[in-house]
């Protein structure tokens, strides 16, 4: 049975694990929400989570949110739709989330039909598609080659709404999607039920970070978007919070390099002519958003793990150093390179050392203007990068005593700076990087996506 417009989507939080609030979810359900939808990750926190197949969240916080949302969804009889599971949306990230969901289902005594949407890609298949001219680069990267594909640990394609719609039509109570555009996860249910496409996509963009599109920074976690045949309304789920025209329209800027156009798998959302109206004290209505269909593409994300890093950290309050931080940095760095070369020799390979002067210029690396007052203290982070973890650590050890005692004034007793740990060297692991910024052209939105089911209902019947 198709619900009538408007379609109401409850977005409980900006990202699964951030802290869904039970009373907000109850409030949204009481207002007639047709589905609960949220993403569970993004590329924001870097490539490590795709390479390692892990979440940046601890299991407990994801489980706590799933408990609130699965209970509410089951009681109301509405679907729970989660995209980009486990932070990166790789197959292992999805399976990790599935296991938490199964545990919660058992604890709640519910038996949902769970659809798993996998979007991790096979390297040989991508090479063939690339050779056939079906993969094109997005700025600032250039054409894709096989070596880059091979360098990736994992590659995912960011899904659009179609695999979600297919799973909903097949009767899914819970959908756990791999990598998906944030907006597709939130737009899919409204698109499936015939809401205005521009409004559905724009509502999804506005709601993607939960209550961030509202006026009060600490006003709660979630929002409710209501999408009809012409536009959408948005209001926060926290009853003391409110949306205003500025908070909603400004959110289109957030984390988006273009404030008017948002490129999605099957088209572009154009909000150039969108109009924002204050509907009541808490609600903003938006009309005039336009969906412009385009040939279907899926954006690829690939992560690689490269060279290894070992760290050391000291704190310095020595006034002799603090009035000459830049000079101290340059001399210490030269000494570190010299020590590593002298004590390890050619075996050290093409290593790299950097010193980040926290409290002075570590964040930018720029030289502070002349006359900048001396800081009260600084932290110096030593970062050695080498071809193996063992070599990065050997380099750190070669530098240890000099890093600890390096004097800026020669005629005084050797200083000892403040190490915080023993052992002083910390093996940080590999350097993870994203390697792809390309789209693959497809004829069918589902052709690169695999759907699997865990049907607890059927298991019960069997």
């Amino acid at each position: 049975m198709n619900p009538k417009l408007p379609i109401k989507i409850l977005v409980p939080t900006g990202s699964l694990g951030a802290g869904a609030i039970e009373e907000e979810v109850r409030h949204g359900i009481a207002q007639g929400a047709h589905a609960i939808a949220t993403d569970a990750g993004s590329t924001d926190s870097g490539a490590a989570y795709l390479s390692l197949g892990i979440s940046k969240n601890n299991r407990g916080s994801v489980k706590a949110d799933l408990t609130v949302l699965m209970r509410a969804g089951a009681q109301a009889g509405i679907p729970l739709i989660i995209g980009t599971c486990g932070q990166a949306g790789g197959d292992r990230n999805v399976d990790w989330t599935r296991d938490v969901v199964l545990e919660v289902a058992a604890e709640l005594g519910i038996r949902p039909r769970i659809a798993l949407l996998y979007s991790e890609q096979d390297k040989a298949l991508l090479k063939a598609r690339n050779a056939a001219g079906n993969i094109t680069p997005l700025a600032p990267l250039g054409a894709l080659d096989d070596a880059t594909i091979d360098a990736c640990d994992h590659i995912v394609a960011a899904m659009g709404p179609e695999p979600y719609i297919a799973a909903l039509q097949a009767g899914a109570d819970i959908i756990l999607g791999g990598r998906t555009t944030d907006t597709a996860v939130l737009a899919c249910f409204a698109l499936m039920h015939g809401a205005h496409a521009g409004a559905a996509w724009h509502a999804a963009k506005v709601a993607e970070c939960g209550a961030q599109c509202s006026a009060l920074r600490f006003g709660g976690s979630g929002v409710l978007v209501s999408i009809d045949a012409e536009g959408f309304d948005v209001a926060p789920l926290g009853i003391k919070n409110y949306c205003d025209v500025h908070s909603v329209s400004a959110h289109m800027l957030y984390e988006n390099s273009d404030p008017f156009l948002l490129t999605e798998p099957g088209g572009v959302l154009n909000v150039t002519r969108a109009e924002y109206t204050q509907l009541d004290e808490r609600t903003v209505r938006v009309t005039g958003s336009v969906w412009e269909p385009r040939p279907y593409t899926l954006k690829l994300e690939g992560s690689s793990s490269g060279r290894f890093q070992t760290l050391m950290l000291i704190g310095i309050q020595d006034p002799d150093v603090l009035c000459r931080v830049d000079e101290f940095h340059d001399k210490l760095l030269a000494t570190m390179y010299e020590r590593a070369r002298k004590t390890i020799g050619p075996a050290a390979g093409d290593f790299h050392i950097s010193l980040r002067m926290y409290g002075w210029n570590a964040v930018s690396g720029d030289t502070p203007p002349a006359g900048t007052p001396a800081p009260r203290e600084i932290g110096v982070l030593f970062v050695a990068t080498a071809d193996s973890q063992a070599m990065a650590t050997q380099i750190a050890k070669a530098c240890n005593a000099y890093f600890f005692h390096y004097p800026i004034v020669m005629d005084k007793e050797l200083p000892s700076y403040g190490f915080a740990f023993t052992p002083a060297d910390i093996e940080r692991g590999p350097v993870f990087e994203f390697r792809l910024n390309h789209v693959v052209h497809v004829d069918d939105p589902l052709e690169l996506i695999r759907t699997a089911w865990v049907d607890l209902k059927e298991k019960e019947a069997a």
Binding site: A47, A250, L253, E255, E433, N437
Partner: protein
């Protein structure tokens, strides 16, 4: 000449995906937005000087409804790479605050 922080009530920066960085300059009035939003000082050369950006990959958008200017540039080193200092680029806006703005 006023600086960015003199005519903006809020300035922020953030990664926009792994390959782009975006800045939002919320001007404090329509008057200042109209006077300085299109300032030649906020050009590709500025981002080249401050962040080593390719001036050809710097984009500027004026959003009159919000009295806001959005500036985006393509990152020059990989997010989280060997020399990373600010994964989310959330601190980069600070280097824009003292930029002097000539009138558009």
């Amino acid at each position: 000449m006023p600086t960015v922080k003199d005519v903006c009530r809020h300035v922020r920066s953030k990664n926009a995906g792994p390959y782009w960085v975006t800045f939002d300059l919320f001007f404090d009035s329509e008057e200042n937005f109209l006077a300085y939003g299109n300032s030649p000082a906020l050009d590709g050369a500025l981002f080249q000087r401050l962040f080593g950006a390719d001036p050809a990959l710097v984009k500027r958008f004026l959003i009159p409804g919000l009295n806001t200017v959005k500036l985006s540039y393509a990152r020059t080193s990989p997010q989280g790479g060997m020399v990373e200092r600010d994964m989310h680029c959330g601190q980069q806006y600070v280097r824009l605050l003292d930029v002097e703005l000539s009138r558009a």
